[in-house]
Each structure stands twice: as structure tokens, then as C-alpha cells.
């Protein structure tokens, strides 16, 4: 079976890869582009550890084929910091110790950033529902939610 050529944009950079049509976007990001921030937790769209945005829309990269990325704008956790300067969400996640093993953290960062871009002033309930598809088996979520809420407040003050 011949592989398919895909041209896409990841974190603002034009990239291309060859993939088998069965390979997911997550496979392609990790194995072809060496962007290993997105994690495979479940592979079935339940855990959110593979969260990325595609044309600004939050999705599970395990539920999308690599070939579907043709011509799209992909954003991953690797694109969140500006060089060595962490995004406010990243700083707050550290400040609040909102992670333990860290497997879910890249997905949470991508999902939370997507929330704050859409809604800079979410309620706690909105935040919890938005992040319901990002499972964390370590923290019990409370620190994560507090980190996101505090980031939102700080970013509103700064803007």
C-alpha cells in the first residue's frame, strides 16, 4: 500500500509527511514530526491527553487521521510557550502544582488555552464541563481548575 503525502501547518510551521491512511494525526505528530507533547492515553477519544486544535477547533488527535490534516492549521502543546517564556497557563499549572505524573498536562494546557480564547471569563462550572474530556488520574482536578480560573483572572487583568 502506498503512503499518502500530507502538507500541513503545525504551530505556524509548514510541514509535510508521508503516512499510511490508517495512521492517526497523533501517530503522525509523534512518530513523523517528533512532537511528542500530545500523549496517547486511551486512543479512543475518552481521555483528552492527545488534545490539539485543528483550524482553531479543539479535537482529540487520536480521533483524526493524519491524512485529514492536509491544508489545516494544527496547534499543539509545543506551540504554547513563546521560546523560553512560558504561557500564563503553564506558569499557573506549576505554581498550583496542578500535575503529578504529567501525562494529562499537555492535553489540559491545549484544552484550557482553547477555552480561554473562546471565553476569557469562564465560570468554574463552565471550566469543569469544558475540561470534562481531559482525564487526570492523579490530582483530583481541583488544582487544575483553580490554576485555570486564576490564569483567566490574571489574563483579564493584563488585557
Amino acid at each position: 500500500m502506498s503512503k499518502l503525502h500530507v502538507s500541513t501547518t503545525v504551530n505556524g510551521d509548514a510541514v509535510e509527511y508521508l503516512c499510511d491512511p490508517r495512521e492517526t494525526l497523533l501517530d503522525c505528530l509523534r512518530d513523523k514530526l517528533n512532537l511528542t507533547g500530545a500523549k496517547e492515553g486511551c486512543g479512543t477519544g475518552d481521555c483528552g491527553a492527545c488534545s490539539v486544535t485543528v483550524d482553531g477547533r479543539l479535537v482529540c488527535s487520536c480521533l483524526m487521521l493524519g491524512v485529514e490534516a492536509e491544508g489545516k492549521q494544527i496547534e499543539t502543546v509545543e506551540g504554547i510557550a513563546e521560546g523560553d517564556v512560558l504561557h500564563p497557563l503553564q506558569k499557573k499549572m506549576i505554581e498550583y502544582a496542578a500535575l503529578q505524573c504529567g501525562i494529562c498536562t499537555p492535553g489540559i494546557l491545549v484544552a484550557a488555552k482553547s477555552l480561554l480564547e473562546k471565553n476569557p471569563n469562564p465560570t468554574e462550572e463552565e471550566t469543569r464541563y469544558w475540561l470534562a474530556g481531559n482525564l487526570c488520574r492523579c490530582t483530583g482536578y481541583d488544582k487544575i481548575i483553580r490554576a485555570v480560573m486564576d490564569t483567566a483572572a490574571e489574563m483579564r487583568e493584563a488585557s
Binding site: P21, T44, G45, V54, C60, L63, E68, G133, N134
Partner: protein, 288 residues
């Protein structure tokens, strides 16, 4: 697996008609990719319909009806400024499916064609009287949503047929719809029972009703006896009790880890009452 991304539904239909082995159409992929990964279904031919013009469009037609492209996602439906005002039940049913991430990809058409009796959007579409346009080798035809599923994971479309549009009727005056489901937690779960209700009123009296039940039989059901219990009433206690009895009587569920037969049968009646009250309030222009 051969991957195709045709530019038209006629081309998609021809690809499917001429394919051998297992064919799947790819819209949001939230079921197709799960089945692929778990090796439940490994298609020989995968036909991605998202490169076809208009598949993400939500269009309000001149007569007040709506046409939705087959790749329109749940998120796009929820974000639409007017669709949810006409059909809150359809939009809330779709919105209940999965996480934010799943909402970014999942579609009404996929939920329907996956053939699950527990599909949340399907009872809401059946109650609303939604039809789908199907493109096949012999042209297009329009099929009521309730005629698509034939059993768990099975649908009535023939080889070479593909859903090419979702048609939601004009809402019209003094009407409302609602969808409720029971799950044992607050989010990210599959319906144990789902109920869709759509009503029209003349004053306080119900003149038209459609009631659909999910997860209580091998397919989503349109229950005529539930509608009969409502039509002519003012949604008084007697009508609600008759509705609940008709809903429970229509149930033919399975026992599984998510709910027993007895539980599903009881809850179908309870949810039918609650959904009818919401639809009634909406038809009267109240927030519910």
C-alpha cells in the same frame, strides 16, 4: 485501507458502489476511528466526505426549514445563533455527546449512521421529524430518520448510498422540543434511556406531538401511543401519566451494566414526562 476524499456525493456514491469489502464513510470519525483502532471494523475503503462543498453549512431555507451539511459538528450547531432557538431539543441532544473535543468533530449524520440505539441525537431528530437526503447510484431520495436504523449497528442504506444532507423541518409557531437522557453521572457517558419530545400548541392545548425513545429497544423508536396520550390535552397530570405508561409500554430493552430492563422501563416514563414539560414550556415561549 484505501482512503478517498471525493469532491461530490455522486462521486462518493460511485466509489462506495464499486468498492469491495468493507466500506465506511468518514465525517467526524468519532466512531469510525474508535472501531478502526479496536479492530472491530477495519474498512477496506474509507471515503472522507469532508472535502465536498457545503458539508459544514447550516442553512435556514426560505420556508423556515433547515438544511445541515453532513459534516456539521456538534460545536458548530451549539454555536449557531438561531438553530438552537428553533430546535433547542435537537441542539441539546447533540451537545450531550462526548467531550468538548468530541463535539469538535462529531456529527448528527455519524451519530445516526453508527446505528447505536443509545445515540443521543437520534430520538431528538425523530421527535423533530428530521429527514436525511440520501445520494445513491440511482439519484437522491429523502428518508425519515426513524427509518434509518434497523438494529444495533445496522442501518437501512443500501450499498453505494450515502447521507448527503440533514433536513430539519420549519419549527413554526407555538411549538417546542426537548431531549433528556439518563446517565449515572453528569457528563461523558452513554444514554441508559433517552427521550425526545416535540409539541405544538393551540393556546394551552397540544395539537401535535412526536415522542421518541432511545436505548430501550434495538433501535430508537417513534412511539405513536405517547403522542396520542398528549394530543388534545393541556399536559395535565392524567395526560402525563398516560404518556409515562405509553413510554414504559413501548420499551423492549436489554439488561446490561448500565441499566436493567426494569430500570430502563421505569425511567423511560419518568423522562418522557419531564421532557414533555420542557417542550411544553418552550412551546409557550417560556425559558426551559
Amino acid at each position: 485501507m484505501d482512503y478517498h476524499s471525493p469532491a461530490s456525493f455522486a462521486e462518493a456514491s460511485a466509489l462506495a458502489a464499486n468498492a469491495t469489502g468493507i466500506t465506511r464513510f468518514l465525517a467526524g470519525g468519532t466512531d469510525v476511528l474508535v472501531q478502526l483502532r479496536s479492530e472491530l471494523v477495519t474498512p477496506d475503503t474509507l471515503i472522507d466526505i469532508k472535502k465536498i462543498n457545503g458539508v459544514h453549512d447550516i442553512t435556514r431555507n426560505a420556508d423556515g426549514s433547515w438544511t445541515l451539511g453532513v459534516a456539521t459538528t456538534g460545536a458548530e450547531m451549539s454555536e449557531h445563533p438561531d438553530l438552537g432557538k428553533d430546535w433547542p431539543g435537537v441542539v441539546e441532544a447533540m451537545d450531550l455527546i462526548g467531550s468538548t473535543q468530541v463535539q469538535g468533530r462529531a456529527t448528527l449524520t455519524g451519530n445516526l449512521c453508527n446505528g447505536s440505539p443509545a445515540a443521543d441525537s437520534v430520538p431528538a431528530m425523530v421527535a423533530a421529524g428530521v429527514t436525511v437526503t440520501v445520494t445513491g447510484p440511482d439519484g437522491t431520495r429523502e428518508i425519515a430518520v426513524e427509518d434509518i436504523p434497523t438494529g444495533p449497528g445496522k442501518i437501512s442504506l443500501a450499498k453505494g448510498e450515502v447521507v448527503s444532507a440533514v433536513n430539519i423541518p420549519a419549527r413554526g409557531e407555538n411549538a417546542g422540543d426537548a431531549y433528556l437522557r439518563f446517565i449515572p453521572r453528569t457528563e461523558m457517558d452513554i444514554a441508559v434511556v433517552g427521550v425526545g419530545v416535540s409539541l405544538r400548541l393551540d393556546g394551552d392545548t397540544i395539537t401535535e406531538a412526536r415522542v421518541s425513545l432511545g436505548a430501550i429497544a434495538p433501535t430508537v423508536l417513534l412511539v405513536e401511543d405517547c403522542a396520542k396520550a398528549l394530543v388534545g390535552s393541556k399536559l395535565d397530570d392524567a395526560a402525563l401519566d398516560a404518556l409515562a405508561a405509553a413510554a414504559s409500554a413501548a420499551c423492549n430493552p436489554i439488561d446490561d451494566k448500565r441499566g436493567t430492563i426494569a430500570f430502563r422501563t421505569e425511567v423511560a416514563g419518568v423522562l418522557a414526562k419531564r421532557a414533555a414539560k420542557i417542550a411544553y414550556a418552550r412551546a409557550k415561549g417560556e425559558n426551559a
